[in-house]
């Protein structure tokens, strides 16, 4: 454990120093990596640790982004207040949607989460008077002291860092243990006294909350929000990141976000047309060849689980 603490401290130190040596462009990239990493880690709380794969997680990202934008712009709340309230809105959305979604499993879970996300997308798209429809909401800027790229970078680092600490604690907490148990064997989990549905719903809400944080951070960084924050293709981003980085480890999504965003930047520079093709190919490679993601390549493959036996 000590080794990872050292590595984390080193990473943190590097992260603090980076804006001083890199140009603004790269700092922006770092901000976007951080946002993607948080979104993916929140998503992974459900997928890797909870065994629930949602195909509509963009909904909570979008709720966070739009709530932040609307509160700051239309309700004219101070940015920090809007920023604090936004994840609560996302969590509330996760509560409502999640209540229905966690009753299902696997394919149906995925389909319903997709359906809800599309409903939200359609509502955002159509409710032009509130959300600006296809034009989105513009001029969503942070207050002056956070407007420079460097300042916003440190803000992002702080927020994302705190969220990572919280998520790390959650994963290793009694709540996390029970969640993992549900992932492994829901029937057995029931028979140690765990109310599986309630627990999964809590995990869903937590995941929605942190996805909302990611959305809110992105909203003020981007300066604008658009309906396609909720479109189903956006829902696949955390999925890809988690797959790339490995879903069984806590820091997998962070590594995956790094790789994903860097690749996206490189390919977009060279030949943007090829980005979806590249992404699709990587996905296929990962699924077919590397079930544990790239990080999994480096983890010890010492344990090989016994197949389930005991049938009559």
């Amino acid at each position: 454990m000590a080794r990872s603490t050292v590595m984390l401290t080193a990473a943190l130190a590097i992260a603090l120093v980076l804006p001083l040596v890199l140009s603004a462009f790269y700092v922006v990239l770092l901000i976007e990596i951080a946002v993607a990493a948080l979104f993916a880690t929140a998503f992974n709380l459900l997928m890797g640790f909870g065994g629930m794969v949602s195909f509509g997680h963009a909904a909570y990202f979008a709720l966070g982004a739009y709530a932040a934008a609307l509160l700051a712009q239309k309700a004219e709340w101070p940015m920090l207040a809007a920023f604090a309230a936004a994840p609560l809105v996302a969590a509330f959305g996760a509560l409502i949607f999640g209540f229905f979604i966690v009753r299902l499993t696997h394919t149906y879970f995925a389909m319903l989460s997709l359906a809800f996300a599309q409903i939200l997308y359609t509502i955002i798209f159509k409710w032009t008077s509130l959300t600006g429809g296809d034009n989105g909401l513009l001029n969503v800027w942070p207050p002056a002291f956070l407007r420079s790229v460097t300042a916003y970078y440190y803000f992002t680092l702080l927020v994302i860092g705190v969220c990572f600490l919280a998520l790390h604690a959650i994963v290793n907490s009694p709540f996390g243990y029970a969640l993992k148990a549900i992932r492994e064997n829901p029937r057995r989990a029931r028979f140690i006294g765990v109310n599986v549905r309630r627990h999964q719903l809590c995990a869903f809400v937590l995941s929605g909350f942190f996805s909302g944080v990611a959305g809110a951070v992105y909203a003020f960084h981007n300066g604008s929000v658009f309906p396609d924050f909720a479109f189903f293709t956006k829902s696949f981003e955390p999925l890809v990141v988690v797959l790339l980085g490995g879903m069984q480890s806590f820091y997998g999504p962070l590594a995956g976000a790094f790789g994903f965003k860097v690749m996206e930047w490189l390919i977009s520079r060279w030949a943007p047309i090829y980005w979806p093709l590249f992404l699709g190919t990587i996905l296929i490679v990962v699924i077919v060849v590397l079930p544990q993601g790239f990080v999994g390549l480096f983890e010890r493959r010492a344990w090989r689980l016994r197949p389930v036996t005991g049938k009559k």
């Binding site: 290793n172 996390g176 148990a181 140690i192 036996t309």
Partner: protein, 258 residues
Amino acid sequence: MAAATGDREEVVLETQDLRKHFGGVRAVNGVDLTIPYGDLRAIIGPNGAGKTTLFNLITGDLRHESGRVSFRGEEISRLSPDKVCRRGIGRTFQIASVFRRLTVIENVQTALLSHHRRHYNLFADAARLYRDRALTLLDRVGLREQAGKPGGILSHGDQRRLELAIALASEPRLLMLDEPTAGMAPNERHTLMALVARIAADTGLTVLFTEHDMDVVFAVARRITVMHQGCVLAEGTPQEIRRDPEVHRIYLGYTKAR
């Protein structure tokens, strides 16, 4: 039947006219069962007799059509499995059911955390909680040395021991074991059931189990209930069951007559 002493209830589990059918099949067809405190009750019967269905009805995994189930005097017929567990019934499953990717000790710790209702705690370091108690339980079932291994790599027999430890973590008053020795070699079976009997005696636990191996049944059980096609065919001490002509008739071919 064992006489009640002190604050122990005389009857731990009781079912009345329990029924369940699937389509046209009457899986459980009016089962009355009374399990007194301290009993080591074996439920035997050919495949399809309804033993596992009966278990699932008692634990709440299945909804019954009619009848009642009461545990320590309280009706539990409509409770969900997690609530049944909290009332004090522990259970193991036919197919060894552990948390495969959690370590052995995490398996037990999770059960303990849930039992003590701390599983909604978001911030404590779970690895440190109930460690000693978990190790004690693992000691009891002989798995202490394997505490750090993932549950899924244990041998089949060890997984069943782990499952026993998980069930015991919830401090049950009644332990229901569904074919606890399936897939084990004969001597392993005796060892496991002897362990169960010892733990039951030490902690005042009542045990209900299904089993196919008659040697094990006759060695361990205090009373035997024989099921056939969803009904209770016979019930009594091992001696009585051994001599029962009906049981012989049904079981001809399943066991040698003694």
